[in-house]
Structure formats: structure tokens, C-alpha cells
């Protein structure tokens, strides 16, 4: 059985070829050592491509030792991409577009535009821009964004061809394409994934999010919603759908004189349907179901993600969100009773908010139309448990969402839910599916040692808004309900990513007053520039068709709903207000902060508005697992002579925390706290400060290492009192973890063994 322990003889010339390539990839990167990398590449490869692949993997694994290897891996991968594209005859941008067009992947208008301006466009390509990618970013681009030959599966474009193709898909002139490409190639701004996937494509579905109102309380409407969800999901859209209007368990079905099984069986079907539709083969379908907490099935709804209990009443793929009226939170605070209703009996509640909802709810309650009553705190506690155990059951606040929404000026226009990531807040109705087209400014690309470059930030925002507005007209809409709503309201969602980079670059701890003030200022600048750009567009192209139904048409801008806000750009807001009164706006909504998980990876910055989760962590994606290390921290450690194997191991052992590194100066330990180590109150306060300038919402994750019902209920009640419109995941950590294999074993310290919750007096370490 035993075979000889002999590695296959290397093919002549392979090793030399790799050595030269690795040498090139390490050029100009002082930390990267070609010899070290070559030594790590083990055998088993019989061709140059596989050997290079191994080298990429080894370089990527060295990132935790020296961040410069990320660039080395990216360069090696880029050489591979170039070879692959060349094998398809792609050596220039126009050749790339021609090759993709030959496979029917692109739309005629984009192909014709590129053909007509081939030389000018080819000249725009900046080959040095590839060097801005880190490994994880380029790997993501390669695995999922570059167009591929349908049969050979080889790429038909290189990274810069891809970015220029995205720009051309949204342009009519070379100058336009150049303007957008300049932002993309510097990673200053990136549109959302659907736009990156599909701009210029045969079916250019460019929108990220779709929000569907609850099905009507009837069979046909429910099945019609499944079909809509499937069509929208197929083209890479994330789905939010309300289920508040569907009757609850035990409700009488007149047609058959039977009783309803409630919403759970329907959501099971939705769950299967969502799992079946793979988004164009590129990522899994995903949906979030919203339910108001007065729905009589709410408790079963909260159990849908539990991993225990009857599997027939579980949905493993759906995300869940609570759409909470203020009345519920008031009763939680007052420790009062909460009434649960069958929507079939009280159909009016789902379409009301604010005082009208409160009045209708109390009237229905007084009339005894409820199915049953529960202590409000018990239900709230159940919500907290769901959050702690599944991270799901997001707390989103119906009245705050409606009160300041530009689309809800007229009665009947109601925001019924948010979207998959809780940042979109738009009205929906039975015939109107809300849509949002998104993009995010990379704040890390707009910060220097002296601070944020406000002028550049504004320029970026104005360009971004102009192109986001175009996606509305150029997009392919998988359903008529989506097209109708999007062209009538013309909402867009400009967001941000890399806020944590800004704070690291400027050395501001996340919870410092300076960080709070800067965050609010960034939000104000972006909102102002976005409104200015939309006013420009209104002047040039006309207002949105539903302009008369907006609050703006009544003289209100979003910050006006927040009397406590204190804008610093008062003169410019005044000028804007005067101008908008004259020309209107092109877009009903402009700002929404999406989570940016994938595009922040491409840009190589921290996600959205989030603090860092760890100084050292791995990302798990469909492409594999990737180590990420905080480059700002490593630079500081190197400067202090502390970047040693012992320190690296200590960081790893501490799950990416540096709080135990006593050699690190206290102010740096404070700066490099992780999300788990920051007071969550500061995150909520920062979000509240930004809310006046976010006319939709933002995806705010909250972090708690070991959640308890008491801490969570305090935290979410605070978030509600601070006027947040929505919150997103609750992140917690597993109660147990994998034994670390690659750090040295030691016999545990008996003191540590003695530490336990069971005998707290024995434990000082935890106090």
C-alpha cells in the first residue's frame, strides 16, 4: 500500500519561470521577499499555470505576516488574468468588448458606442490602475465580475476593461465614460454589484434592491408575489417583502369554510423559491421578510430561523425583520399589554402609520377585535432572543421611516417595509415594487493626512449621482411593477464605505467626539452635494414624474424633519432650498448607506460605516477564505519595532484584539479597538447624528460578544429613542470555537481553569 515519498520531478524550466515572475511581483515592495515565497510553494504542479496558482495561494497566506504579500498575490493573479484574456484574443479594451459581443453578452448600444470610439476609449485604459487592487479585491473581481466566455469559461476582459465597460454602459460620450472611469479606476467610487455585473450587458439589470408590498390576503396574490420575487432574484436583486397583510393562523377561509394555517407555510414556500433561484449563477438569492408585531403569527415568525424544533416550520434561507410601530415600543417601555390581530379582520392597520395607526390600533383593541393579548415586554424579549440566537429579526421602525420619507407626503403613500439590508425606505403598494439603484463613495480615497478633501468628495458625489440617475433609464426591469415605480419616483441611494479607514488615517478613535463630528459632517457634505446634483439634473432633464407628491414639493428637505440637527453648511443649504423651490429635484430620494460587503472588498476598504470587526480576520466568500489584516496597525507596529512573530501570535490568540499588547501605547490600543470592544452606544449615537442627512436609511450592524436579553433590550430601546429608522444584524460570537492549530500549544494555566461563571468569586481576571 505504502508508496514512495517522492515528489514528482519538476518539469524543466517551470521553476525558473516562476522565480522570474515572483521576482517581478515583489518589485518595489520592501516587505515582500521572493525567496521566502518561492520556498513556500510546494510541488505537485505539472504546468506553469498551476504553479502560479500555488504561488498566489502561498502569497495570500503570508498576508498575516506581511501585508505587502497581498499586493504580490494580486500581481501574480493579474498576470494569470492577462494570460487567460489573451488566450481569448483580448489584448485591448475594444477587443474585449468585441469578444464579449461576439458571445452575445453585451447590449447593442454599448457595443456600437465602443466600436465608434474604439481608439479614444482604448487610450483611456490606465494599466497601472491594476496595482491599486489588493489580493482579495482582485480575486473577487476575477471570480465573479469579469465577463467569461460561455463555453471556455475563460475571462473576456481584464480588470480595467471591466471598469471601462461599466462606464461605457452608462455613457453616450467619451467624456462621460472618461469621467466615470476615472472614479472607478481610482477606486474612489463603485456602483453596486448589479451595476458592476450588468452595465453594458445584454440584460442590464442595474438595481440592487427590490421592495414588494405584502401580498393581498388571497391565494392568487400570494403566488403572484412568488413569481415576482423569482424574476427579480434571477437578475441579482436582493428582495424585501412584507407579509403583514396575509391572514393569521386559525382565520376562517370563507371559500372552503376551513381555517388558515397562518403565514408560516407560505414563508416556507418562499424560502424554497428563493433558494432555488441562484442569482445568474453568481451569488445566492436572498430575501428578507418584514412583519409588523401586531400580526397574530408574530411569535411563530420569530422562530423561523431557529435551528431546533419542527423543520417544517423553519426557513433557513430567509432573513427576518420586525417592522415596528412606535406604539409597540411605548407599550414595552410602559410594561403594558399588546394586542395581536388577524389582518383579515383589521385590514386597515398595515396601511397606516403615526397618529392614524395609533388611533386605528387602539380603536380595534377597544372593540375587542384582537385574536389575543400578550405583555408587550414578553414579545419584545422574544425579539431580543431571536436576535441573539440568529442575528436575524432586525429591528426596523415604521414610524421613523415614514415620518421623514420624501415620498409619504400624501395619505396612501406608505413605506411598508425596508429591503434586504435595511437601508432602503420607499413607498410600495400592490402595483408598485420599490426599486433602488445604489453606489458607494470610498471615503478612504478622499482622505489625506490633513483630513477629508471636501472639494474632491463633492465632485465625486456629483458624478456619482449623475450616473446613478442614468441607471434608472438604462436599467432592464424584470417586472412591470418595478419599472413603473422606479421611473415614477426615480430614487437612488448613494452610500459610503471606508469610514473606519478615515478614522484610522486621522487617528480618531471610533467613539471620540471628533469622530462623531466628522462622521456627521461627511454625511452633511454628501447629502448637500447629492441634492445639488439632483437639482442640476432636474433643471437639465426635468423633475421626477411624482414630484408633486413629494415633501420637497411642499418646501421640506430631509434635514428639516430633525429640529435638533445643526448643519454647518447653512448658507449652502439655504441656497439649495431656494434653487430647489425653482427647479425641483430629479430624484425623490438620494442617500442610502448600503452594507457594501462586496464592493468594499474590491476597493480594499472597511465596509460602509462600520468599525473594524477584528485586526486580523478571515473573510469567507464563495471564492474561498481570505486572511485580512489591519494594515494601519501593522504600519504602527513596524514603526515601533513591535511587528514580531510573538506579537503576531498574540494578536491571533486574542482573536484579533490588541488590548493585551501592553507594549503598544495606550492611545494606539484605543484606536485599534474592534467592534466588540467599542461601546455600542457610540455607534448608535453616530448613526443618530447622521440620520438627518440620510433620506433613506443605513445598514447599521450592532456587535455584542455575549448578548443577554437585558443588554439587548436596553440597546434597541435606546436606538429607537434616538430616532434611528432601522438597524441591521446583531453580530455575536460563537460560544465555543475551533482549537487554533497554528499557534503553539501550552498546558493551560490553572488560574484560568479556575475562572468560571460558576464560581465567580474565584475569578478576578474577568472583572
Amino acid at each position: 500500500m505504502t508508496q514512495e515519498l517522492i515528489a514528482p520531478a519538476p518539469v524543466a524550466g517551470l521553476a525558473e519561470g516562476l522565480a522570474a515572475e515572483v521576482e517581478r511581483a515583489c518589485a518595489g515592495l520592501p516587505g515582500a521577499d521572493p525567496a521566502r515565497l518561492l520556498a513556500a510553494v510546494r510541488g505537485g504542479a505539472s504546468d506553469a499555470g498551476t504553479l502560479r496558482e500555488l504561488a498566489v495561494g502561498e502569497a495570500a497566506a503570508l498576508v498575516a505576516v506581511e501585508p505587502a504579500y497581498s499586493k504580490v498575490a494580486a500581481r501574480l493573479l493579474n498576470a494569470h488574468i492577462a494570460d487567460e484574456a489573451a488566450a481569448e484574443g483580448v489584448t485591448s479594451f475594444s477587443a474585449s468588448v468585441a469578444a464579449s459581443a461576439a458571445q452575445g453578452l453585451l447590449n447593442g448600444a454599448t457595443v456600437a458606442f465602443v466600436a465608434a470610439h474604439a481608439d479614444e476609449l482604448d487610450a483611456l485604459v490606465d494599466p497601472s490602475a491594476d496595482d491599486r487592487f489588493g489580493y482579495f479585491g482582485l480575486r473577487t473581481v476575477y471570480d465573479r465580475y469579469l465577463l467569461r466566455h460561455p463555453v471556455t469559461r475563460r475571462v473576456l476582459e481584464r480588470p480595467q476593461h471591466f471598469l471601462l465597460r461599466v462606464a461605457c454602459g452608462l455613457s453616450d460620450t467619451v467624456a462621460d465614460a472618461a469621467e466615470l472611469y476615472a472614479l472607478l479606476s481610482t477606486l474612489s467610487y463603485l456602483p453596486s454589484s448589479p451595476t458592476l455585473f450588468n452595465s453594458g450587458a445584454h440584460r442590464p439589470q442595474l438595481s440592487s434592491c427590490f421592495l414588494l408590498d405584502s401580498p393581498r390576503d388571497e391565494l392568487e396574490s400570494i403566488y403572484e408575489r412568488y413569481a415576482q420575487v423569482a424574476r427579480l432574484s434571477k437578475y441579482a436583486g436582493g428582495i424585501g417583502v412584507s407579509w403583514t397583510k396575509v391572514r393569521s393562523r386559525g382565520s376562517l377561509i370563507r371559500g372552503t369554510n376551513g381555517h388558515s394555517n397562518g403565514i408560516v407555510p407560505w414563508l416556507r414556500t418562499l424560502d424554497s423559491s428563493v433558494a432555488a433561484v441562484n442569482q445568474g449563477g453568481r451569488r445566492k438569492g436572498a430575501a428578507c421578510v418584514y412583519l409588523e408585531p401586531w400580526h397574530a403569527d408574530v411569535e411563530e415568525f420569530l422562530e423561523l430561523r431557529d435551528n431546533t424544533g419542527e423543520d417544517a416550520r423553519r426557513t433557513h434561507n430567509l432573513n427576518l425583520a420586525n417592522w415596528i410601530p412606535d406604539e409597540f415600543m411605548r407599550r414595552v417601555e410602559a410594561d403594558a399589554t399588546w394586542s395581536l390581530f388577524d389582518p383579515k379582520e383589521v385590514p386597515e392597520l398595515a396601511d397606516l402609520w403615526g397618529d392614524d395607526f395609533d388611533a386605528a390600533y387602539r380603536a380595534a383593541e377597544a372593540a375587542g377585535r384582537f385574536v389575543r393579548q400578550v405583555p408587550a415586554r414578553r414579545l419584545y424579549g422574544r425579539m431580543m432572543r431571536t436576535l441573539a440566537e440568529t442575528g436575524n429579526g432586525w429591528m426596523t421602525f415604521k414610524d421613523a421611516a415614514n415620518r421623514a420619507c420624501n415620498q409619504t407626503a400624501e395619505p396612501g403613500n406608505v413605506v411598508h417595509l425596508s429591503n434586504l439590508c435595511t437601508e432602503i425606505l420607499e413607498v410600495t403598494s400592490d402595483g408598485e415594487t420599490a426599486v433602488c439603484n445604489l453606489g458607494s463613495v470610498n471615503l478612504a480615497a478622499h482622505v489625506g493626512p490633513d483630513g477629508v478633501d471636501w472639494a474632491r468628495l463633492r465632485t465625486t458625489v456629483r458624478t456619482a449621482i449623475r450616473f446613478l440617475d442614468r441607471t434608472i433609464d438604462r436599467g432592464f426591469y424584470p417586472t412591470e411593477e418595478a419599472r413603473k415605480a422606479n421611473t415614477a419616483w426615480r430614487p437612488v441611494g448613494l452610500g459610503t464605505m471606508g469610514l473606519a479607514d478615515v478614522f484610522f488615517a486621522l487617528r480618531l478613535p471610533f467613539d471620540s467626539p471628533e469622530a462623531q463630528a466628522l462622521s456627521t459632517r461627511i454625511a452633511e457634505e454628501i447629502a448637500l452635494a447629492a441634492y445639488q446634483a439632483s437639482a442640476d439634473l432636474a433643471e437639465e432633464l426635468g423633475t421626477l414624474p411624482n414630484y408633486a407628491q413629494t415633501r420637497t414639493a411642499r418646501g421640506q428637505l430631509h434635514p428639516d424633519h430633525f429640529p435638533d440637527a445643526s448643519p454647518v453648511l447653512t448658507d449652502e443649504w439655504a441656497a439649495l432650498r431656494e434653487r430647489v423651490a425653482r427647479v425641483g429635484l430629479r430624484n425623490s430620494l438620494l442617500v442610502a448607506l448600503a452594507p457594501t460587503a462586496t464592493i468594499a472588498s474590491i476597493a480594499g476598504c472597511y465596509e460602509c460605516i462600520e468599525p473594524q470587526v477584528s485586526n486580523l480576520f478571515k473573510r469567507e466568500t464563495l471564492s474561498g477564505e481570505f486572511l485580512q489584516i489591519n494594515g494601519y496597525l501593522v504600519a504602527d507596529l513596524k514603526r515601533l519595532g513591535l511587528w514580531t512573530p510573538a506579537v503576531r501570535e498574540a494578536i491571533k490568540r486574542a482573536n484579533g484584539s490588541v488590548q493585551g499588547l501592553t507594549d503598544l501605547p495606550a492611545e494606539l490600543r484605543e484606536l485599534y479597538r474592534t467592534a466588540w470592544e467599542l461601546p455600542q452606544k457610540a455607534l448608535i449615537d453616530m448613526s443618530a447624528g447622521r440620520t438627518p442627512y440620510i433620506d433613506q436609511g443605513h445598514s447599521l450592524n450592532l456587535f455584542m460578544e455575549t448578548p443577554t436579553i437585558g443588554k439587548l433590550s436596553s440597546m434597541y430601546a435606546y436606538a429607537w429613542r434616538k430616532g434611528l429608522k432601522t438597524t441591521y444584524y446583531l453580530r455575536s460570537r460563537p460560544a465555543t470555537r475551533i482549537a487554533q492549530t497554528t499557534i503553539s500549544s501550552t498546558v493551560p494555566d490553572p488560574e484560568a481553569v479556575a475562572c468560571s461563571l460558576e464560581n465567580p468569586e474565584a475569578c478576578d481576571a474577568c472583572q
Binding site: 515519498l5 517522492i6 510546494r42 435551528n307 478571515k618 469567507e620 460560544a735
Partner: protein, 331 residues
């Protein structure tokens, strides 16, 4: 003392609160097989080279019976002799987790091997495939030696039990399973079989805790009866570990053949020696090999995960959260 014969029922005062905390932590980490998405693996399987298919089939065959062997020893030996009710709580919980693992690997096998004959062959591997058979023989040789012991009355009995426990935790869970995990993560590092890897992440997490529990039992016995840990025991543990490395290495030769891209039997030898040293040192024995870990991709497993929920199910949640609604707690 922990190994004194009997069926102690006293939980208050609790002698070993640490065991009880481990029991509670394990419950907070409950997962079920239904949560693992194996769908994408099927298309990956079609892409594998014959050498890779061979590796995957052998791996599945090993998994098919490995956890059952562990579960059996748990019930027949450990539960009997570790005499503290809080420790038995943990072992009961561990038994449940082993059952989930058996179910996971059964589901995996049913998914990967559509043919009923192939499935039967995988379970028969323990008889017919030499590289698996000899691993099973190793297990039975070392852990089966105390099958006839009903009470640990003498020091020799207790040393025999310790050998069983160390074989169980350090060699089977701590080396054989860790070897198998390395193949899974090697596939994962090449973007293959994500479903297998995500289920394995959870199995890995559980096995890490099982191993740590067993080691803390050893620690406890060492503190209570240091005289049991004589030179003879050390010699036997080291010999057992060497045999385990050899057995796993033979399996590696079978799996890797003449070598796969970035993975050869020689790499596995280094990795196994490295892991074996870790186990020995953790148990307070001297390292035997002094070999460094060759697999950078294993480094990834030590680092906190952050999943993009669009892509992967997030496994970092707890169940059994406690407390009451309040409005004034710090957060």
C-alpha cells in the same frame, strides 16, 4: 477523585464547575445538519480530477465510520469511568454532537454518492480499504484495551484508562480528524466543496471542544493523582502517538497518491508531526518531532470568520441566551 469508581450524583457543591461551563457553552453552539448547504458541492464534484475524486471518496469513507467509533468509546468507556455528574453532563452533550456529526457525514455521503452500491462500499471501507482498516485497527488496539475494565481500582487500571482517553482525544479526534480536516481545507483553499467545508467548520468547532474537555480531564487527573504520570506512561503515550502518525500517514499516501497540486504525502507527514507535537505539549509531555506546520491554509482556520451573508451562512451565533428585558444595562 475523578477516576474513583462509582456513579456520583452530587451537583451541589459542584466539584468541577469548569466541566459544567463547557456543557453550557456547547449547548449555546447547537447546529443542525439541515443548516448546511451542500448544493454547490455537486457541481464541484463534476469538476474534480480522478486523483481528487479518489481523495474525496476516501475521505467520505473515513468520515462514514470515524465518528461512530468515537461515539461508541464515549458511551462504553468514558461515561463509565469519569465519575462526576457535571462531567457526565458534558459527555452526554458530546454524544449528541457526535450523533449530529454522524448524521452530517451520512447526509454528505448520500449527497455525494448517488449510487446505493457505492454507499454500501463506503461503509464497508473499514473492512476493505487497507488505509482505513489499519486506522480502525489502531483505534481498537488502544481504546479497546479497557473494554473489560468495570472499575478503575488500581493505578494500572487508571493508567490504562488515561491511555484510552488520550488515544481518543489526542490521536483520534486530535490527529485523525485534524488530518481529515486538512484535506477538506486544502480543497477549500482551491475553491472546491464549500458545503463540505462549512459543515466541517462546525464539526471542527465541536471536535475542538471535545478534545479540550478530554484534555482538561487529563489535567484534572494529573492534579489529583500526579503519581500516575510516570515515565512508563510517557513512553506509552509517545509510542501511541508515533503509531497514530504512521497510521494517518499511510492514509495520506493512499489519498495523495504521487501528489496533488500543493498537497503531497510528505506535506501531510510534516503537518501530522506538527499536530502530534501540539497534542503532546498540551498534555504536558515533551514534543516528539519538532516539525513546523507546512500548510498556510490551516492558518486561516485560526482566525475569526466574517461571512458575507449573501454568500455563506454565518455560523457565529449562540443559542440559549438568558436574561430579562431591561432598559438601563450598559451596552
Amino acid at each position: 477523585m475523578l477516576l474513583d469508581p462509582g456513579m456520583d450524583l452530587t451537583l451541589r457543591p459542584m466539584r468541577y464547575p469548569d466541566f459544567y461551563e463547557r456543557y453550557r457553552a456547547a449547548i449555546r453552539n447547537t447546529w443542525t445538519v439541515e443548516e448546511v448547504d451542500l448544493a454547490s458541492d455537486l457541481s464541484d464534484l463534476a469538476k474534480l480530477t480522478p486523483a481528487e475524486v479518489h481523495l474525496v471518496n476516501r475521505l467520505v469513507a473515513f468520515f462514514a465510520t470515524g465518528d461512530s467509533i468515537v461515539a461508541n468509546n464515549l458511551v462504553l468507556n468514558l461515561y463509565k469511568h469519569v465519575n462526576a455528574p457535571e462531567a457526565r453532563l458534558y459527555l452526554s452533550r458530546q454524544l449528541f454532537e457526535e450523533a449530529v456529526h454522524v448524521q452530517f457525514y451520512l447526509t454528505l455521503l448520500d449527497t455525494y454518492l448517488p449510487d446505493a452500491g457505492e454507499r454500501a462500499k463506503a461503509f464497508a471501507a473499514i473492512e476493505h480499504i487497507p488505509s482505513i482498516k489499519q486506522k480502525a485497527e489502531f483505534c481498537f488496539r488502544w481504546i479497546g484495551s479497557i473494554d473489560d475494565l468495570n472499575e478503575l481500582t488500581t493505578a494500572a487500571d487508571r493508567r490504562a484508562f488515561l491511555l484510552n482517553l488520550i488515544c481518543f482525544a489526542a490521536c483520534i479526534e486530535g490527529l485523525f480528524f485534524y488530518g481529515a480536516f486538512a484535506y477538506v481545507y486544502w480543497l477549500r483553499s482551491r475553491g472546491l466543496l464549500n458545503g463540505l467545508a462549512s459543515g466541517t467548520n462546525w464539526v471542527f468547532r465541536d471536535e475542538s471542544m471535545h478534545m479540550e474537555f478530554a484534555f482538561s480531564v487529563v489535567d484534572t487527573v494529573r492534579a489529583e493523582e500526579p503519581e500516575l504520570f510516570d515515565g512508563n506512561l510517557t513512553t506509552q503515550v509517545v509510542q501511541m502517538m508515533e503509531e497514530a502518525v504512521e497510521a494517518e500517514l499511510e492514509f495520506a499516501h493512499d489519498l495523495c497518491g504521487p501528489g496533488l497540486p500543493g498537497l503531497s504525502a510528505e506535506d501531510m507527514r510534516q503537518y501530522l508531526e506538527y499536530v502530534a507535537d501540539q497534542r503532546l505539549v498540551r498534555l504536558g509531555f515533551p514534543a516528539r518531532y519538532g516539525t513546523a506546520n507546512p500548510f498556510a491554509f490551516m492558518e486561516l482556520q485560526d482566525v475569526q470568520e466574517l461571512s458575507n451573508f449573501f454568500e455563506r451562512r454565518v455560523s457565529a451565533y449562540q443559542i440559549g441566551v438568558e436574561g430579562n428585558v431591561a432598559f438601563d444595562e450598559a451596552f
